[in-house]
């Protein structure tokens, strides 16, 4: 039953057709599907299918990634208010753009996907100091720090993720807080994340949500 909804929903998202995607969800609710089932049996599997598709099809575009995240986040937010009991989150991530970087699109895509996957997201905004990332991660008991950079100098500069890595090392936090980076420069040099001191990276916002979720589970299991 859910397969048809997932297929129809993803076709609409892929066509950047928000209205039809919302109609699919509304139709499911009218057919007696619960808000919990909408999130766990339609939205989350749809995002996972989209992640698999993006990995196989390099020709997917930023517009599709953006709408995947925005539509899913909007629906999930609405459904959560209708849950019979509060859902259990899988973990927490601190997210922001690197110090000196004011570009927020990639971050917004990642946040949308993560929220839909039941990850608690603390968004520090743009132009975030390294100290603020680490302090927030400790205070909020987060498993992952995610840093987005649109420009080379904010990706590899000494005030960005390299400084976060140094702070995690100084404070002996490297086993309990993992560092993920993403953004345009990393797409051009796939090894750049290691030079930026990160544990992992993602080529796009949707895939980033998958990698962050995996790292959260790894940290919690260790």
């Amino acid at each position: 039953m859910f397969e048809t909804y997932i297929k129809d929903y993803n076709e609409a998202v892929f066509d950047i057709d928000k209205e039809t995607a919302l109609e699919v969800v509304e139709s499911a609710l009218q057919q007696g599907i619960t808000p919990e089932q909408v999130v766990f049996n339609i939205i989350i599997p749809s995002i996972e299918q989209m992640m698999a598709l993006i990995e196989k099809d390099p020709d997917t575009n930023l517009a599709q990634h953006f709408m995947t995240a925005q539509i899913a986040a909007g629906i999930t937010e609405t459904m959560l208010t209708k849950f019979s009991t509060p859902p259990e989150v899988i973990g927490r991530v601190i997210i922001g753009t690197a110090y000196g970087d004011l570009h927020s699109l990639g971050k917004r895509i990642v946040i949308g996907c993560l929220k839909s996957m039941m990850v608690d997201v603390v968004d520090l905004g743009v132009n975030v100091k390294a100290e603020d990332f680490v302090d927030a991660a400790v205070e909020q008991d987060a498993q992952v720090i995610a840093i987005s950079s649109m420009m080379v100098h904010t990706a590899t500069g000494e005030d960005g993720s390299l400084r976060v890595r140094a702070l995690l090392n100084e404070r002996n936090l490297e086993n309990q807080i993992k560092l993920v980076v993403g953004g345009a420069p990393y797409r051009f040099d796939h090894e750049l994340y290691t030079k930026a001191g990160a544990d992992n990276w993602a080529a796009d916002g949707v895939t980033a949500a998958k990698i962050i979720s995996q790292l959260i589970l790894e940290v919690k299991a260790s």
Binding site: I16, K18, A63, Q70, V152, F188, D189, L192
Partner: protein
Amino acid sequence: MTPLEILSAAVNGQPAPRIPIFCNLLDQGARELNLSPKEYFSRGEYVADAQLKMLKRYGHDNVWSLSYVGKEAQLLGCKEILFAKDGVPNVADFVIKTWDDIADFEIPEDITLHPHWQSMEDCLAILRDEVGATHPICAYVTASTTLPVLLMGMDKWMELVLAGPADLRDELVRKCSDFIQQQIPALRAAGANVIVYSTPFGSPYFIPKKMISEWSMPWMQRDLASGVGDVVYYCGTAPYNNIVDLAIEQLKVAAFYLSPLDDITESKRIINTRGLTCGLIDDIKMIHWSKEETRAEVKRIINIGKNGEHFLFGTGLMPMDIPEENIHAMLEAAFEYGRY
């Protein structure tokens, strides 16, 4: 032949001693003159001086009149730029904060009277006098479908484009296109002889091909109504091989500055003799490459593109962290392997 003649020969497929070699050294100018970026970008004379000094030192073919991309936003009302000691300046004040601001947003009646235009004109005047007869002088123009990114931020613009009212979206694009229709002739009049037309929303990396065809292309035609003979199609290093046919047919553009992520063999096959294929090195990798790795990549790109002429070797935005020895290695290899 002069670099300008070599470029012309490459565009037209005529004999030349070598391929054209473009190297985009923008943020390096402040370091060249030992100035802070804010001070450096405050005067067009500084930008021109640094461009000419770097041209002499490295020997590539082109100079730039561009200070930074946010200049266009400043011409349209942006009040704050965030300068960085080690990279590209950012727009820190968005002129359009909410959709309601679009109705009140106005294009200056004459952009050449704007204080921020003066520094570009000063820069171009020097470059034109010094090397205008011999070298390509590049100017940068952001397409009307992309310019709103500088005015309201990428995520807000993406939201309006994909899920907002089409009439509001197009009202803003029309105003931006009006600006470009002033900007391109003014840049030409001031001395620019290569217009690098940056159109990320003309790349299928950003939006679907269907949307490019039905929405972006008509606006691009309007932007470029004053002529395309000196226009280079560029998508901000986003790949766009499968849009080239459309751009040739609908825009009549004949120069394509591709992405390092495009397959250059495929680019060359598609463009063939219909225009100039500009093959780019992945200059972000040059930060960490050795001289030998840099040379090998230059050789690979030029070996693909050089045959059949109609080819230019170029760089992306050349991050400041690239070691100077790699810049020299890249250019030495380009001149060596680019000979006919």
